[in-house]
């Protein structure tokens, strides 16, 4: 790990000011991804501003009938919340299908959204990666990795976003609340929060420098069933090779793109009376597998159809 300095401010305003003022400063929440990447020298912050104890760890009812998840709520806390389990089961299932009990006790809601890709070439510092060193090239293209994007990839990056939680939040139409040092607050739709790689795969979200996520807001649960299902290479404690979240008529796919992938073509087909299998075919028509990840077409077709059948999303909702 490169040397860094550390402090733990007592309020959000101070934390924002510190990260805005100190070059190379970063927020530290649960640390389960950032500390790991610092050990590998993939992340090299000069200063860590520990936000894990800021008063952002509540789960509150909103006047609209939804829930506001404070940025520093842990994954365990959100998945255990009775309101989440009763009204947002897809979110509870998604969180519980990620990581391990130990990691979920530390990992936070905001940190989950900002975790970096698990592309093996991003982790291998002996290989070029446009995320680690913009312009260096992408060793994953033509490499042997199979867990790469089938939607929205670019000539610069074919990595996927690893989150389970964010896929369910996309299907649930969640919003991200932020603050920045100037006292400015913003609300971003989660669906547009993460970016496709384009020419700048190192820019992964719409967050501005020194802007902090303060909460994720769930609207009231949509009418209809919910589900999150995940395919992976072992029975538990592994990243997805494909996942599906359904919440009412909204569908999102995981491990297929640089961001949680909203399946709008599938949603439209369902609205027009398509069967679950036909809806997934409509979505996957735009997929561009690269020879190493062709299996994802059949995987996503079957996983998606199974989820849509379970929730009854095609039954005239």
């Amino acid at each position: 790990m490169k040397a860094f300095t550390y402090e733990r401010p007592g309020d959000v305003a101070t934390a924002l000011a510190l990260v805005a003022e100190i070059p190379g400063a970063r927020f530290l929440a649960g640390g389960t991804n950032l500390v790991d990447l610092m050990k590998l020298r993939i992340e090299q912050p000069t200063h860590l501003v520990d936000v894990s104890r800021l008063p952002l760890a509540e789960i509150e009812d909103t006047p609209e009938g939804g829930l506001r998840l404070g940025a520093m709520t842990t994954n365990s806390q959100v998945a255990a919340d009775a309101r989440v389990r009763a009204r947002y089961p897809a979110l509870a299932q998604a969180i519980l299908s990620g990581a391990s009990g130990q990691l979920r006790n530390k990992a936070t809601t905001a940190g989950n959204l900002l975790q970096r890709t698990r592309c093996p070439y991003f982790y291998d510092t002996s290989k070029p990666c446009n995320k680690r060193a913009p312009g260096a090239g992408c060793a994953a293209i033509g490499g042997i990795s199979s867990n790469t994007a089938i939607f929205g990839a670019s000539d610069a990056c074919i990595a996927t976003h690893p989150s389970d939680m964010a896929v369910a939040l996309t299907a649930l139409d969640a919003k991200v609340e932020t603050q920045s040092g100037a006292g400015e607050a913003r609300v971003l739709a989660l669906e547009g929060f993460h970016r496709l790689p384009g020419d700048t795969p190192h820019v992964e979200t719409e967050l501005r420098p020194a802007e902090m996520i303060t909460a994720v807001v769930l609207p009231p649960p949509p009418p209809g069933g919910q589900i999150y299902r995940k395919a992976r290479e072992r029975a538990s404690y592994a990243f997805a090779i494909g996942s599906v979240a359904v919440a009412g008529g909204r569908v999102a796919l995981g491990a297929v793109a640089h961001k949680p992938w909203r399946a709008e073509a599938a949603e439209l087909a369902l609205e027009q009376g398509a069967s679950p299998a036909e809806a997934m075919d409509a979505e996957l028509r735009a997929a561009r597998p690269d020879g190493h990840n062709d299996y994802k077409l059949k995987l996503m077709a079957r996983l998606g159809a199974a989820c849509l059948t379970t929730t009854g999303a095609g039954d005239g909702q």
Partner: protein
């Protein structure tokens, strides 16, 4: 950087380089070698300790972030000569071969049983709104963050059933 916490019921205070993980502070500074460094990347669970009663991977947590916390390691579980019930169950069921993962397995089990007692669901929980029943499938899913390269999993499962009063 000066950091103080409660370690196995005793006050502990260290002057730390901020880079020091909780695991390295325990092993290299406080001479508690029970918590093991397996992968050092949060993938194996051998470093599992309890912080304020909850299990975490000590390898992915910076020690300076633990100011004021109550930390329990494998060394803090027994009361004098009396083993913690989970330790006793691991012995009774022969729930190890080489033993390297065992301190993490035991701390993780204690944290896991508390989570279940608090009503936390897992991915193996079919009805997310029902009371938790710790079936074998539930235990396996909840313990998936602790790897055992000797593959003593059947005995570990038996020990957890014993310790949890489920046998």
């Amino acid at each position: 950087m000066k950091t103080s916490f409660t370690l196995n019921g005793q006050a502990a205070s260290l002057d730390l380089d901020p880079r020091t993980t909780l695991l390295d502070a325990l092993r290299e500074r406080l001479d508690l070698k029970g918590s093991k460094k397996g992968c050092d990347h949060g993938q194996c669970g051998a470093c599992t300790v309890l912080v304020n009663g909850r299990r975490i991977n000590a390898c992915l947590s910076l020690a300076v972030t633990h100011e004021g916390d109550e930390i329990t390691t494998i060394e803090g579980l027994a009361q004098d000569e009396t083993l913690h019930p989970v330790q006793a169950a691991f012995l009774a069921q022969d729930a190890f071969q080489c033993g390297y993962c065992t301190p993490g397995q035991i701390c993780s089990t204690i944290g896991m049983l508390k989570e279940a007692a608090d009503g936390w669901a897992s991915l193996a929980t079919e009805d997310l709104t029902a009371d938790i029943v710790l079936t074998d499938e539930e235990i396996r899913e909840r313990m998936s963050g602790n790897l055992c390269r000797c593959s003593a999993y059947p005995q570990i499962l038996a020990a957890i059933r014993t310790a949890g009063g489920l046998a």
